[in-house]
Amino acid sequence: MKKFVFLSVLLTLTIALSACSGDKADDSSRSDESSITIGIPQDIEDSLDPHAAVAAGTEEILFNIFEGLVKPDSDGNLVPAVASDYKIEDEGKTYTFYLREGVKFHDGTPVTVEDIKYSIERCADTSGEGTLLVSAFSNIESVEIVDEKTVSIRLMNADTDFLSELTSAVIPAWNEDPAGNPIGTGPYRYVSRVVQDSIQLEKFEDYWGTPANITNITLKVIADSDMIVTNLKSGAIDMFCRISTDQANELAGTEFDVYEGTMNLVQAMYLNNAFEPFADVRVRQALCYAVDAQAILDLAFDGKGTVIGSSMFPAFGKYYMPELSNAYPRDVEKAKALLAEAGYADGLSFTITVPSNYQQHVDTAQIIVEQLKEVNVNASINLVEWETWVNDAYVGRQFEATVVGVDASTLSARALLERFNSDNSKNFINFNSAAYDEAYQAALASTDDAEQSAYYKTCEQVLSDEAANVYIQDMASLVALNNRYGGYVFYPMYVQDFAKLYVRE
């Protein structure tokens, strides 16, 4: 009995002790106004080294720490960053950059032309010993230091789109551990991390441009998406990007503002064109007629999002073709007729592989399955882990259909259209069209902007005509931000700009 008394006392003590210290913590957070806690869905697991980082979730955070020679702005233009100016000569064969005066790395050392040369060569693998980290850099013939302020890049083939690749981060040549000690030139510097828990960022005082407003940023990992709303409401986090419409509805009437932008993803049911039934264009078209994208938006996304009809989203205004979204209006009869013509009058069965960590894609797939039942197509869902999806479906191309969103890694149409070239290594749907390859190569070779856009549009048209995939939407991106803060800005890319956030007076 004595033992129990002892244990009870111990437990009570623990509670009392922790209750006291809990109060103290509240005080400290109130006094320090210039800080924000931002929830992120997963920890950075690929790398803090910007050249080795590949996950979209990592890149959008590193955007605040690293910069390239140029960087994108919120309107989708490329603006000079580490370089103050640039010159494109020889119809896109030579790119010359002038180093900005007074750009410093986070530790205070000035950026030199050697750092720039090192950073580009590291990704281009000019030595041939490492790996090619930016595929477009394979076109680089040489990187030359002209003088203390000037670097010139010579390409093997003219490429007017090359500038968009130079958002690739500039890092110090002398840093021996870029993954463990990330040093860049961005408005925030990396301070520390607790694995699977949080990452600390701090405002970089010597930033060359408009400095950040908020001093301290804590990125807090919220691994369970169902706890996002609870954690926002409890005040543990002040912001969360890309919440679902259901979560936004749960936040109605609270101290949170919900901002709506676009996700800049091409969400589609991607079809493996090499899979026997889908090799027939009539089957693919039938599926497009059978799926009602607007109904998916209404049912799972509260009507938010933009229905699209090809591998391009509205944020890339120059290339986007809104008319394609209406290429395959819902038509059950036509779908059945096309299936019958292709020899599938008695129905068709296939499996949709979906990465289980993306609830929005899982929801979309469920609705597609229901819609396809009406045209006598029996689809089943196979949920897999993300790693399995990458390994089997994406790299191994072992899938029949899959619902995912594909994003653009740079600010160019190429980022979205390159993969459908028949021999491209990322052509995971095995799309094969001579017309497409021809138009795409013509676009690459073109040095005239209008002509190039026209070729890219031809590519989009081919994707639509051939019904390469069942295109669905560019999803709405909903951001929850506590109304004590303001300044959230959407980009036409998958990035988050923390530097523009500020504390409301």
Binding site: D298, A300, I381, L383, E385
Partner: protein, 265 residues
Amino acid sequence: MQKRKKGNAGFIAGCVITGMMLTLTVIGFFYTPYDPEAMSAADKLAGISPRHIMGCDNFGRDIFSRVLKGAQTTLIVAGGTVLIGTVFGVLIGAFTGYFGGIVDEALMRVMDALFAFPSLLLALVFVSLFNSGTYQVILALGIAFIPSFSRIVRSEYLRCRNLDYVKSARLAGASHLRIMFVHILPNIYTVLLSSIMIGFNNAVLAEAGLTYLGIGVQPPDASLGEMLSNAQTYLFSAPWYAFGPGITMVLLILGFSLMADGLKH
């Protein structure tokens, strides 16, 4: 006298509840008020009404119809799990407990290793291996359940192998297999039966846990655990979503554990 009656009352209540749940599940095989997979934008998160007695979920599907189907899946998963656990548990437990010696040592080390693997993690590895789906979940949970069953059975066989009736059967020339499964097995069935029922409940909860971690039953199939873990997003705006599957799950488990308790008396 008093006590005997109380034990029986619990047992009868357990039987009644379980019987009720099983009947509903069987009805679900042949009839549901609505197609459990039919979606409707108009009924999205509709409340409880005479048309939808448990309301509708986030796709406008009738929750009651889905509970009927979901209870089926849950019962199949739990039943399959317990079946695998029991069959292999009895085989391994009987051999190791009856014979002892080096086979016992070796098998029990493997069982220890399996047991030391927290069952959830074992399932996690399994599902990564074979993808998620109803049968994979059964297999994963079933294997995770073998060690505890085999331990229980082993200790019963250890206890029984030197009892008089076993000795006399051996003297009468019965084979080892016959002694193990014809003589001893019927004598330990109460222990086995109540651990089956407890195992059944654990399987129901484990399935819910797996689904919560995103590695359970595949949509659009429903299971009680899957519905409950989906429902949590809407706990404020549509509490009835959690209510239907939640109550069903509690009743299901309650029925079995009352029966298990009653068996011990």
